[in-house]
């Protein structure tokens, strides 16, 4: 396997309130998730967390229910 350090850098040409750190963190977290899952026998809460954080602008309701 080859590659320059398994990190993606982001450059943005114009400023629209884009949070560069957030997108960098998303890419860093992704790298750690591409291999085998780690050692645990409990809930992986990432999906639930995404639901809780996400506001649907169509309904302006916080998605907290689900799985």
């Amino acid at each position: 396997m080859s590659g320059p350090g398994r990190q993606i850098t982001v450059t943005i040409p114009h400023d629209v309130g884009f949070d560069l750190k957030k997108i960098q963190k998303i890419q860093a977290d992704l790298v750690a998730r591409l291999g085998h899952t780690g050692c645990y026998s409990g809930f992986d809460i990432l999906f639930k967390q995404e639901q809780e954080f996400m506001v649907n602008p169509g309904s302006l309701e916080l998605h907290v229910s689900g799985r």
């Binding site: 780690g38 645990y40 409990g42 809930f43 999906f47 506001v55």
Partner: protein, 497 residues
Amino acid sequence: MYPDGKKRPKESVVGMRSAFPTTPLGVGLVYAPGLEPLIRGEPGLVDVLEIEPQTFWRKLAGGRYVVDTIRLNRLAELPGARIVHGVGFPVGSVRPPDPAHLRPLVECITLTGAEWASEHLNFNRGEDADGIYDAGFLLPPCQSPEGACVAAASARQSAVALPVPFLVENGVSYLAPRRGDLSDGMFLRQVVEQADCELLLDLHNAWTNDRNGRQPILDFLADIPLERVRELHLAGGVAEQGYWLDAHSGPVPPQLIDLARDLVPRLCNLNAIIFEIMPTYIDIVGLDVVRRELEKLHDLWSLRSLAPPPLRAAAEPAPDLANARSAALRWETTLAGLVTGRSAADSLADDLKRDPGLGVYRRLIAAYRASAVVGTLPFTGRLLVASLPPDALDDLFDTFWKEAAPEAFGEREARNFAVFLSARNVPTPIPLAEVLTFDLAVIDALTESRSARVSFSFDPVVVLGGLADHHLPEIAGPASETFYVDVSPAGLNFGLS
């Protein structure tokens, strides 16, 4: 850093040893990138790093595994001794672990200079008419004398193939105890004594079993050969729908620390105490909490026995395997089939269907798979979460779970879900195909060093920026210009053509 404050000696990188280190390693944690500030910045806090080797692997289409040596070698900069903790090839099964994993495992042991390696006393595969499949979770083994016999054979096979000592870890079971089974402790004793290997005692696993109605932990500790315990795991968990889950979600429960305080002085061969926390929870609880847990573990470490170890009981002769295999095979095929939604209709299946623990496994596997999808296709995942009502998203996932067996490697699960999604017309306010193509291009760049230009009919700075910020950006309609993102191993470049 070693307990005496020195850096890891260079010769330890050779990684070929058959005995445990003469100097016990101390206190450590399971490596995760988010823990690096603690590992690097606070001398004496982390003596040893436990590395989960398969999290640094890729599974290729032909079933071969390759080590991401670039990521793994980055760890060489970190202080402390190393141990390797397998997470993908458990030894509690009638089916020996896939032999293809041995070469990359030995490579990881050698590259990291690990002092020993360990694996779980579980199984994680089933078999149907199409062949062997991944069950998507560590499942409890057949806990009869026959099951102990096949697990011991599997553990022996792993132990002789490795250049370092091999430890077996006790697992969690969310199933009710079954009449005729060995107790959790006696099962573990039989396996390690028949295999003549050492023990990684996960105290939180044993406590979880106790809390969920299995063997009381003091009885469990009385049953197991404490002189074989070389490593201790401690972690936190959560209560969920009447069960205590081994979630690795934060601080060690105070009752468990009290229990460890009584236990550690009795562990005459203890070489390391490791704190486990799942990467997702590091941001939630914060590094200060992790630091405090490590300090508690240092207090426990100071209580360890310094007396010479007692004479060890002779290894038990292994019973004949011939009759053991069929009982264990039936158990594994039935349980793996049921947790992955396959049909099964015999007396064992009927028993298991009455066990509410079966539903726990199904919920955990679904949560794991959904998290794997949104974690590996992050912008696609957020677009789906933002666009679909929860019930519709659940239905979409349920259809995928039925069509595709779980894949323990995140990249494989992501690519399978991308194929599944591409064949469907899922309504989203922003073209799903564009966002999915972008996510896949990032994976290609990270895993295969490929570059690609991804076109967008909307401004990707607004779209991806909004999703990164957990909201669906408002966009009036397709733009007159064509936007693109160049995705390459060097980075993302946003442009307009």
